[in-house]
Amino acid sequence: MNVIVCVKQIPDPALPGALDSSTNTLKRDGKLILDESDSYGVEMALQLVDKAGGGEVSLVSMAPNGEVSGLRTALAMGAAKAVLVSDPALQGSDALTTARVLAAAVGRIGGADLVIAATESSDGYTGTVPEQLAEVLGLPSVTFAKHVEIDGSTLKASRQTEDGYDEVECPLPALISVTAGVVEPRYPSFKGIMAAKSKPVDTVTAGDLGVDPVGWAGAGQQISDVAKAPERAAGEIVEDDGEGFAKIVSFLENLKVI
């Protein structure tokens, strides 16, 4: 079984992020790390291939610079190879362009029985790329999977919903987006880190893949303004005169939690 995982390399969330004031986009020029939300997909893929008893896990990723640190982490976890679409022209790409580029990268690897993505990235939070990617690839799409099994040529997934989960089946090949918690990602092993250095990363441009237009030119959106998040309003302090519980109950009722 061959699985392709879409992974994003993002600025380290532990460091303070900054916006590029000329484009109003997140600065991504420094070291990029594997988006934690993608580590679940990588782990899921590794477990499925392992269970199937053969095949390999490949990665597709897209970045405006040639950064590979995040890909190395996923390769060190056990993925076999990667296609990195690295092209300054990609700066400003919207979600649909991203889906087109990733679809072309998936096609370049070819032969995927399953494509896995996270539900959304931890730096952009658009949350639409997996579904768009499925559409471009012409694959059935199952989103928000919190449990995944493969039974022959059928995918069985538990799909997280607001009040429980749906049990869904679909034929392979397919695309799934997985939630955090679908599996517990492994830490790269010492030997895996050593091996990752020699695993192939096929670095291509959008032009190599024949995707045009990309970047700002291909975007169906523009950033018109950026505003600071509003300061958090001060909380209300309730003196407990013996009736404090009633105020807590009414507060929770207003929030519709009880």
Binding site: T73, R186, G192, I193
Partner: protein, 578 residues
């Protein structure tokens, strides 16, 4: 998210630009281990330390290890973290590939250890002690012992302990009374009590291998009559699996000032089955073969704890608002106050200097063990021998000073346990004591190490420091150059005085501790000076910070050590009771 950010950038800088770790690839043993992956290795090890180990630090301190029905129960999460550590292969990283190891240089293992130990010293002690046992068995075990125990110990499937101390035999190991009686089948029966045995029992693995110092019948008194034995918690069955329970029991746990999570056991051996390592009466010599590596490990703990205390103090100082500065109307973050900045910068500079000293010591240990040219290997061994007591004692003295400054930065909040600042100081306290007290290290430095090669080993180091004095001057760094020159002159004067007074050992011993402190500041100043000269091509923000700390260390901290000369050269008389 973790409250510990692994200092990957500084570790990487120190390894590449000061210790010259890339040059180790020129040695056959390290040619193919993958040192070109060093940056990835450090960042993944750091991530593991921050995400898996660091969250155990507080819970470990609060819960502590407990003795329940004859077995030690470690705090919540300790066992799972150990399994993850083993699964990821970190335990095996520095050891022989033939036993499943990764073949990494010791200096790289120590960099990883700094991060793991900074994350949780109490947790990290378990792999630390196991490493010592692996070194000893690799060097002195016979083929059967090596093939029996190393494939389990190297990956960390089982852990090991070092059983030296007895109630009457602490720093004076020669006073050991534990007995070992030979049996017809070639094994021994070990009986006696050992104290202060770190991770002497725990619930993280399904066997524990104790290395025990004991006396055979008729053995000479003192250190020359001590032999070293393997005593497993579970004797192995015919398939090499843990079988019958051996009579090696933890009978109580110490209540300690710090490292609460690390079980410090009183071990009772009651005719326990044991196997002699090497020859009878050679146990102390075997222990000494791994002493440099283990002592360096403790020095590295001082660095790790210093880094942890520093990070916490920096964060607190950026958030805590008290007092006004620069005409501000509102209270400012306390980091704006010059005296708080001095404390933080002192913490940072001491930590970085200690890190550099430990890395230089580590790379010398690697060269000594792996350079095929015997002359080069001997030279490296001498350098490692000279630097080891400084790396151990100065780094842990500074680790304690840094952790206490960390409390001071917190003000009253540092004195209460909730902030966690006090834990770092409590945990750091043991590091100046175990693996040879810092007083013992100072005695080792002045009475064994300085006289090596009739003073030539120290003189060679001093000549290198002098070269850096000149390079700093040539680079236009006059104040830094002058400070290092002053400290070097003091160190040379102190060394000469000690050499002249060798015939009255008490005079030499009386000045041992201040001498070690002076040597630490001078060697630290040398390496911070070399750092100033090695910033070309480094990240701009990193270079700016390094200039800041290195200049501060050289111009403000190093000169303080010059004032130690009167104490070093006063002799023993002023210490006599009036």
């Amino acid at each position: 998210m973790s409250d510990f950010v692994p200092p990957v950038a500084d570790l990487s800088f120190v390894l590449r630009r000061l210790a010259g770790v890339e040059s180790l690839t020129g040695l056959a043993d390290f040619a193919d281990v993958g040192l070109e992956s060093l940056a990835d290795l450090l960042s993944e090890a750091g991530r593991f330390a921050a995400e898996v180990v660091a969250p155990l630090n507080r819970v470990g301190d609060r819960e502590g290890s407990r003795l329940v029905d004859g077995g030690v129960v470690t705090p919540t999460g300790f066992a799972k973290a150990w399994q993850q550590y083993v699964a990821a292969g970190w335990a095996a990283a520095p050891f022989e590939p033939q036993y499943g190891g990764g073949g990494m240089p010791w200096v790289v293992a120590m960099s990883i250890y700094e991060m793991v130990s900074g994350a949780s010293t109490a947790w990290a002690l378990c792999p630390m002690l196991t490493q010592g046992a692996i070194h000893l068995l690799t060097a002195h075990g016979d083929e059967t012992q090596q093939s029996t125990w190393l494939p389990k110990l190297v990956p960390g499937e089982w852990t090991a302990t070092m059983n030296l101390t007895e109630p009457q035999a602490g720093s004076d190991v020669g006073a050991v009374t534990t007995r070992a009686v030979p049996q017809a089948d070639g094994s021994y029966r070990i009986s006696g009590q050992k104290i202060f045995i770190t991770y002497g029992d725990h619930d993280m693995t399904d066997n524990i291998v104790h290395l025990v110092l004991a006396r055979t019948p008729g053995a000479p008194a003192g250190t020359r009559g001590i032999s070293c034995f393997i005593v497993p918690k579970f004797v192995l069955d015919a398939q090499g699996r843990p079988g019958p329970r051996n009579a090696a029991w933890c009978i109580s746990l110490e209540h300690k000032l710090g490292i609460h999570a690390s079980p410090t056991c009183v071990m009772e051996f009651d005719e326990a089955e044991g196997y002699l390592i090497g020859e009878e009466h050679a146990g102390m010599r075997y222990m000494f073969t791994m002493m440099n590596a283990a002592r360096l490990g403790v020095g590295v703990e001082g660095v790790g704890l210093g880094e942890r205390a520093l990070q916490q103090a920096e964060q607190f100082a950026a958030e805590r608002r008290q007092g006004r500065a620069g005409g501000s109307a509102e209270p400012v973050a306390i980091v704006e106050h010059p005296d708080v900045r001095r404390m933080l910068l002192t913490m940072r500079a001491l930590t970085e200097a200690a890190r550099a000293i430990c890395a230089m010591t580590g790379v010398a240990i690697d060269q000594a063990h792996h350079d095929p040219d015997p002359a080069q290997a001997r030279r490296a061994q001498a350098r490692a021998d000279l630097l080891t007591p400084i790396a151990k004692a100065w780094s842990t003295d500074m680790g304690n000073e840094v952790a206490h400054l960390g409390i001071q930065v917190h003000g009253g909040y540092g004195f209460i346990e909730e902030t966690g600042a006090a834990q770092h100081a409590r945990d750091a306290r043991i590091t100046t004591i175990y693996e040879g007290t810092n007083g013992i290290q100072a005695i080792d430095l002045v009475s064994r190490k300085l006289p090596m090669g009739d003073g030539a080993v120290a003189a060679e180091l001093y000549a290198e420091i002098e070269a850096t004095v000149e390079s700093l001057g040539a680079a236009g760094l006059a104040p830094e150059s002058a400070a290092l020159a002053g400290s070097l002159a003091t160190l040379r004067a102190a060394t000469a005085w000690l050499a002249e007074h060798r015939s009255t050992p008490d005079d030499v011993l009386a000045g041992a501790t201040p001498f070690l402190r002076l040597a630490g500041f001078t060697v630290g100043g040398w390496l911070m000076g070399r750092a100033l000269l090695a910033l070309d091509g480094e990240d701009e923000a990193f270079a700016a910070r390094k200039r800041w700390t290195a200049s501060f260390f050289l111009t403000q901290l190093v000169p303080q050590a010059d004032g130690l000369l009167p104490a070093i050269t006063a002799g023993a008389a002023p210490l006599a009771l009036p």
